[in-house]
């Protein structure tokens, strides 16, 4: 694809998103629950999801009666205090956990087990330490005997990992490991990317670069992202919609439509529109964070 075509492609996509944004504007004054639904075609449909853990007799409800739909090619971030069930939500969509009640549908089908169409990035780096960067990158396609070396080379080039194919993960910096994990995911070409606080272990500078890179990659290709974070700025900067969750049991407190232009870059962190969103989100999350902290304190006292 030539440089020119590439740019116009991005333009077209960002125009599409502009349209989506106006569609959502209409919904803006509606009820919260309605805004947890996407305008138009949805790829992921979550209805009445409840997940209860029962480790030692004392049942803990991680997620309660949660409804959410995610549109095709949408970038949704889930923002919530620690221990609010964000990861549980992701694990249900990934197919690692069975919902206690309710259902998770992807393209209209029940999620029953993990599938390569739903790629996952974990909070801790989960590159296979016993495989080199190159072997990690090829892992997904290799499982189906469908390795496309050109595509993998392209991804390694794009993420600055060329020349490190034969290195083992522990020989790389945290940022490089995180990039390599992204390469492993993209090489597998998932329709949905489920990311559970993937950048939380990185320093501020690296984190910002990783966010920009992720957006770059997302804008180039058709992909839906569900990105979990407890970092407010990150949630707004990346998202089309920010789903704000309550402290446990996790429910949707509110949904913020982020109408910032695309493509986005770090200069937006200081823009007025960004600050407005930030204040809004801050108001929403503050009480929940406090509640989550109280819960944690009560638990550690009880233990």
């Amino acid at each position: 694809m030539s440089e020119h075509e590439h740019e116009s492609d991005i333009e077209r996509q960002s125009e599409d998103r502009q349209h989506d944004a106006t569609d959502r504007e209409v919904l803006r004054n509606g009820h919260n629950e309605e805004r947890a639904q996407v305008a138009g075609e949805s790829l992921v449909e979550i209805n009445g999801l409840t997940k209860t853990y029962d480790p030692d007799g004392a049942a803990v409800t991680a997620v309660e009666d949660l409804d959410l739909s995610i549109g095709d090619n949408e970038f949704v971030t889930v923002l919530g205090p620690s221990g609010c069930g964000k990861s549980t939500l992701m694990e249900c969509i990934a197919g690692y956990l069975e919902p206690t009640e309710g259902e998770v549908l992807v393209e209209g089908e029940h999620v029953e087990e993990p599938d390569p169409s739903r790629g996952v990035v974990f909070q801790s780096n989960r590159l296979f330490p016993w495989k080199t960067i190159g072997q990690n990158a090829r892992f997904g396609p290799q499982m189906r005997n469908a390795v496309d070396d050109e595509r993998i080379q392209e991804l390694l080039d794009e993420t600055g990992l060329t020349g490190f194919e034969d290195s083992y993960p522990h020989e790389l910096s945290g940022g490089m490991q995180q990039r390599a994990e992204l390469v492993r995911l993209l090489a597998n070409d998932p329709a949905i990317m489920l990311m559970d606080e993937p950048f939380s272990g990185l320093d501020a500078m690296t984190k910002e670069l990783m966010q920009e890179m992720l957006l770059d990659i997302w804008e180039q290709e058709d992909r839906t992202v569900l990105f979990i974070t407890h970092d407010l700025e990150e949630a707004i900067f990346l998202a089309d919609r920010v789903v704000v969750m309550t402290a446990r049991p996790g429910e949707i407190k509110d949904v913020i439509d982020v109408d910032l232009d695309r493509p986005r870059d770090a200069s937006m962190f200081t823009s007025e529109a960004f600050n407005e969103h930030q204040e809004h989100a801050n108001d929403l999350i503050h009480d929940e964070a406090e509640r989550a902290m109280e819960q944690k304190e009560a638990e550690s006292k009880g233990a």
């Binding site: 990934a94 197919g95 690692y96 087990e113 993990p114 599938d115 390569p116 739903r118 790629g119 996952v120 974990f122 801790s124 989960r126 296979f128 330490p129 016993w130 495989k131 892992f139 997904g140 499982m143 189906r144 083992y168 993960p169 522990h170 492993r184 995911l185 597998n188």
Partner: protein, 288 residues
Amino acid sequence: MSTRDRLFEIDRGRLLGREVPLPPRGVRWATSVLGFLALWWAAVEFGFWGFDNFVGPIETLEPIYGYLLGEPLASGSRTIYVHAAYSTFRVVAGVSVAALLAIPLGLLIGTSTKWERYLFPGLESLRPIPPVAWVPASILLFPIVDVVGFSINTAVLFVVFIGAFFPILVNTTEGVRTLDDEFRRAAESLGASNWQTFRHVIFPAALPSILTGVSLGIGLGWITVVAAEIVSGNYGLGYITYQAFRLLDPTTVAVGMVTIGALGYASSTIVQRVANYATPWSDLEVNT
């Protein structure tokens, strides 16, 4: 001292440690071994405890030279090579059979709760029995068989096997169990089947631990082979060491001990080399 101060202290220690250049590997090795030999020599020379009944390192050098040229040991007819070969064969064979059984069994117990429930209690009740305690029962249970002119003492083989089996089994199981579930999940989400997850994730993840088990197994193999040979049979370094003691020949006792030490050291070095080669990603030191 606060935790932070302690951390700083450790860092400082590391940095300072790095400033002192280490002597070459060979020099360190020689210092260590010669230092030990010097202690032995001094203990005999100055007659600590019962050391004056024993021989020093210098007195053993001469007979070692003779034995290495092929003189028979302890008024027998066999050379040190024959005895060393018997012991080495027993360790290698016993540990190999133990590894061939314990590794698959450990992987099975580690991956499947169902199999764990059936196998673990039985195995766990045998594990606390020290390998040496198996010697009398083994002599009753396992005969000496003749294979193309070589007499194979299957009782000794069994004791070595039992000694190596449990460390390998336990380490293999632990290697599988300590793997974080997210690696398995990552593999599944990348499209790996159960078998592929086992082959590409569970087994390589457990491999460093398995090799630690094998390394421990070899160490225990040398302990058990010597113990078993003292009680049973007419061959081996354990047999000859005890035989020499009965013939009041402390020099040959010392020669036997030095030979066992050297072979044990060599075998653990080989296992460590193999482990480092097989697991290039792992910083884990495989110790005996």
